[in-house]
Structures are given as C-alpha cells and as structure tokens.
C-alpha cells in the first residue's frame, strides 16, 4: 500500500515536470515568434488607422499599400537586393573554399607548420587594433572606402569559423588522406576529391554562418560605404529607412519630392519584411546540419 502511494506521488511529480516543460517551451516559442507577427501585421495595415490606433497583433485595415510604396520606385530596393545576393553567394562560396582548405591543412598531423599558423590566426582574436586604426588603414591606405570590396573581403572568414572547420576535419579519419597518398594523389587533389565530400555537414554549418554574415551586414557598410554607393546592402538600406525620417522620403522617391501621403510607419515595417524574407526561408533547409554543427563548435570553441 505504502509503495503504491509513493509510486503515485512519483508519477505525479513526473507529470508536473512534463506540464511545466510543455507550457514554458510553448510560451517561449511564442515570445520568439510574436515580434515577427507584429512586424508583418504592421506592414499590412493602413497608415491612417495606425496613426490613430497604433500597431497591434492583427493588421488594421488590411492593405498592400506599404509594399506598393516599397516597390514604387523599384530601382533602389532591387539594386540593394542584387548587391546583397551577389555578395552573399560569392562570399559564401569563396569563404567556404578558403576556410575548408585552411581548416583541413591545419589539422593534418604531418603538417609541420600547423601550430604556428593556427596561433597566427588565433592571436587575432586575442588582440586587435580596434575600430579606428582599422578604419584608417582600410580607408586611407588600402583606399577601399566607397568600395564594396571593403565589405566583401572583411566578411570572408573569421578565426572562429576556421577553428570550427578544423574541428570538423579532425573527425575525418587520417586513413583517408593516407589512402589518397598511396594512390599518388597530391595534397590538394586529396582535399578536393576525398575530403570535401566528407565535410558536407561542416560546409552547411559554416556556409550558413557566412551567408548570415553577408545577408545581415550593416556595420561595415555604415563604416565604408556610407552614402558613397548607389545601392546599399539590404540591411544598411533598412537601417537608413528605420533611423532617418528624411532617408525614407529620399530613398523611396529618389528625388526631392515630398509625399504627404507617404505611409512612413507601415513603410518601415514593409521594408523590414522585404529585407529579412529570404534568409528565414533558407533556415529550415539547413537546420539539421546547423544544430549538429554548433554542437561540435561548442565542445571546443
């Protein structure tokens, strides 16, 4: 009888833990999702109603007018899209190639310079010149101010991504490299035809980090591009729309015309949706690799 009692107690406590877990996780997921709903609803609302009632969870006076304004003078936003997509695609491909080559070489046990080079790369995370000296070096001495290269090049790699790749490559058995050597293949051939195919999860993870870095870039653009380029990368374009009321009118019209009917509140939100869109759709496809990827990275980071 007594045993029966403790057993019921046990299942009760287990049940309580389960209920709390489901509730908290569901609530937290909702909190993560809610802002996105707010933004999308706001972008679909009518400006007049928003001015009177403010933003809410549901769209107020369903309309696509804010989106029509985003694309009313499509040159700017489409130019931004093209710049961002080109940078993301090429940056991810070039970055992945360099990072995987380096990561593979740095974990090769028979590579005598691997510790020296590893430290050379790692040291940059320990001590940096700081924002202003780097800015002066790149804009004044490399003359990259106003050039997309200043943004493109600086996002190609990071010590952290190289270490992540190195850890992945370490899990590929050394025998594979050796078998390639026996067949008389050179190191680069071994890397391309034997190692790269085995690094797929790593390439997906690091590739996603690179793509995110390029897509979400606004900071380097604000330093090096400013208003010197015709087409700003998307997030920097959005940054201007959100933060500067005048930029809003200028960038929508492209000329100095004032629009009394410009839906400034809802337009900001529609631009936010348009600027974010594609990267979120990319995520579910790589999620599987990504979660296993950050786990490896966390073990030794």
């Amino acid at each position: 009888m007594a045993q029966q009692g403790t057993k019921i107690k046990r299942t009760k406590s287990t049940k309580a833990v389960k209920i709390v877990s489901y509730t908290v996780i569901a609530l937290f997921s909702l909190i993560c999702l809610l802002p996105f709903i707010l933004i999308i609803s706001a972008s679909l609302s009518t400006e007049g109603v928003i001015a009177k009632e403010g933003f809410g969870i549901l769209p107020k006076g369903l309309t696509l007018s804010a989106y029509m304004w985003v694309f009313r003078y499509p040159k700017m936003i489409i130019g931004s899209y093209v710049v961002t997509i080109l940078m993301t695609v090429f940056g991810t491909i070039v970055g992945l190639l360099i990072i995987s080559m380096t990561g593979y070489a740095l974990q090769r046990k028979d590579f005598p310079f691997r510790n020296a080079i590893s430290f050379f790369i790692y040291f940059t995370t320990l001590f940096s010149a700081g924002m202003a000296p780097t800015f002066i070096w790149i804009s004044r001495y490399l003359n990259l101010r106003g050039s997309y290269l200043a943004v493109f090049l600086q996002l190609l790699m990071s010590p952290w991504l190289i270490i992540l790749m190195k850890n992945f490559a370490k899990s590929v058995p050394f025998e594979i490299t050796e078998s390639g050597k026996i067949d008389g293949a050179g190191d680069f051939k071994i890397f391309i035809s034997l190692i790269l195919p085995m690094l797929k999860p790593a390439l997906a993870t690091v590739g996603l980090f690179l793509a995110l870095g390029y897509w979400n870039e606004w900071y380097l653009s604000s330093l090096y591009l400013g208003s010197q380029v015709d087409f700003k990368p998307l997030q920097y374009y959005l940054y201007g729309i959100i933060n500067e009321a005048n930029a809003l009118k200028g960038s929508v019209a492209g000329v100095n015309v004032t629009f009394s009917d410009l839906p400034s509140n809802t337009l900001k939100m529609a631009t936010a949706v348009v600027a974010t869109g594609p990267i979120i759709f990319l995520y579910p496809f790589v999620q599987k690799y990504f979660i296993s990827g950050i786990t490896v990275g966390a073990v030794k980071g």
Binding site: T6, V17, T102, T124, G130, A132, P133, W218, M269, Y283
Partner: protein
C-alpha cells in the same frame, strides 16, 4: 587535445631541415596562404595604427605625422570619468547577459529534454532559433514597432485600456531592462540548443538505471542532468568572462543610436568608440578607448584561460 599533442610529438620525431619541411609541405602551405594573407592585411597591418591613441590625430598629417601627445588622451578620459562610466556599463551589462542568459539557457534545455513529442520539439526548436537569424537592424525595427510613443504596440495597448502612454525613448532608467530582454530574446534559443546537445550526450544507461530505481523526473534532473552540465557551464562561463569588455555592439547601436537622452545607462565601450569616430570624427579619443579595451580584454582572456587550465586542461584554449 591531448591525443593531438602526442601525435605531434611522434610526427616531429625525425628532425627534418627547415627547407626540406618547407618543400614537403608546400601544397598545404599554399592552401593556408589565402587565409594567412587575409589576417595579415586585415588584422596585423592595422596594429601599428594603435599609435593614434597617443597622438592628436588629424587627417592631413596622417598617423605618424600627427603631433604626439603621450598619454593625454587617456588622462582626459580618466579625469572626465568617461572611462570608468563606460567600463562599468559594459561590465554590468555583460555580467547580466552571462549569468541570466546561462541560467535561462540551461533551464530551457532541460525542459526541451523533457518534451516527448517529436513534432513539438522540432517546431519549438525552429521557433526558438528564429531570433538568432535576423539582423540587429530588424531588432531595432521591432523595438520601434513595440516601443515608440505615437504608434508603438505597447502604448496602443496602454491607450486602449485607458492608461497614460509612456515616452520610452526618453527614459534612461527602463533601458537596461529592455536591452537585457532583447539580448536574451536574441541569444537564449541558440544557447539552449548547445546545452541541450550536451544533455543528449549524457550516458543514457545512467538515466535508465535511475528510472529503474524509481527516480522521479525532478530527481533525475537534480541528481544526474544538472551535475553533468556543470563542466560545460563552468567552461562557457569562464570564456564569457574573458569577453566581458566586448559588447553586443550591433544590438546596442540599433536600439539606442545617437539618442543622447539614454547615454547615461546605455553607453558601452563599443558604442562610444563608434560614435566618437563616426559622428565626431575624433579618431584619437576613439583609438584610445579601443586600445584600453584591447589590452584589458587581452588580460582578461589570459586570466580566464589560466583558470580553465587549472580546472580542466583539456578545455584550455592554449
């Protein structure tokens, strides 16, 4: 890591002359070359530029032509109290992020582990990850959507219920909480998946044995899962301490920007460095604060790595 070291010793055993080593590994060296060049150009070349911190930099004379002023820039920053103010804000924010962030991440990871339904787990993980994927600019847009005075969702809710709307963008006292919330919103999902993976790595025979012995869920969490997370927690915590002088710059800047009404509670080292350079074109002061951050940060990483090494040498970075 240890295995690796013995491997290195074995490989290095037959001493080769340097040139032979160079020749034998030329392909591997060439494979590393782009990365080496990258770090030379973008990370090592700017280093001599820290000299700016000791000059009265002007654009015409350049880095080494501008008048040398010694420690004047630092003196000014210390005497005005600015350096202390920035350090205090940066450290306090980071401490809050680290402590509250890690506790939340562990709690959520444990709860995620209790979820039986595969679909529920998958959907919730996807949603929890979402904030990590968006740009900080969008977080600024979200904050504007919720917090602005005229049309913000929060104030429209307050108005609808008959309350008095709040001018959030001019009240410095609220912002530490808003920034903390935004940081947690952005980072917690990602961090909890890292901890969750570490829970999945626990020897399942231990948990099964506990279940046979009739342990409740709570007992399982308390006596098996929490203790087994301790090493991961301590290591992550110590490394986070090493980065305590850095900040989540993008988040702070997109929430605050040049809103000077909020500086007293929200100005951190990196926002100061950026603002001084971009808005005031004061490269010397900006460099001085940047150099202070680099040196202090370097010392902190060294210290935390030393601590990690004492606790578990396997996890030390170097």
């Amino acid at each position: 890591m240890k295995k690796n070291k013995t491997g290195a010793a074995a490989a290095a055993a037959p001493k080769k002359p340097f040139l032979k080593k160079l020749k034998d590994s030329r392909t591997l060296l060439l494979m590393c070359l782009p990365a080496i060049l990258f770090f030379i150009v973008f990370n090592y070349c700017p280093l001599p530029g820290v000299y700016i911190a000791f000059t009265n930099y002007n654009f015409r004379d350049g880095i080494f032509g501008s008048p040398f002023v010694g420690f004047k820039n630092f003196e000014f920053l210390i005497r005005s109290g600015e350096l202390w103010h920035l350090t205090r804000n940066t450290v306090l924010y980071n401490l809050a992020f680290i402590v509250i962030g890690n506790v939340l991440q562990i709690a959520l990871a444990i709860m995620l582990n209790e979820i039986g339904s595969k679909l529920f787990k998958k959907v919730s993980q996807t949603l929890m990850f979402l904030p990590y994927f968006i740009s900080v600019v969008l977080i600024g847009a979200i904050a504007f959507n919720i917090l602005n005075y005229d049309t913000g969702a929060l104030n429209s809710l307050i108005r609808a219920t008959g309350g008095n709307p709040i001018k959030i963008y001019s009240q410095a006292g609220i912002w530490p909480f808003i920034i903390l919330f935004c940081n947690l919103w952005q980072q917690t999902g990602y961090g909890s998946v890292v901890y969750f993976a570490s829970i999945c790595g626990i020897d399942s025979s231990m948990i099964e044995a506990a279940e046979v012995d009739g342990a409740t869920s709570w007992q399982r969490i308390r006596y098996i899962i929490l203790p087994s997370l301790k090493p991961t927690f301590i290591i992550l915590l110590l490394f986070a301490l090493g980065g305590i002088m850095k900040g989540n710059f993008g988040l702070f800047w997109n929430l605050i920007g040049n809103n000077s009404q909020l500086y007293s509670t929200t100005n951190i080292i990196e926002t100061f460095v950026y603002r001084t350079m971009m808005s005031q074109n004061n490269f010397a002061t900006s460099s001085a604060v940047g150099l202070y951050q680099s040196i202090f940060g370097f010392a902190l990483v060294m210290f935390s790595n030393w601590l990690v090494k004492r606790i578990d040498p396997d996890y030390a970075l170097f």
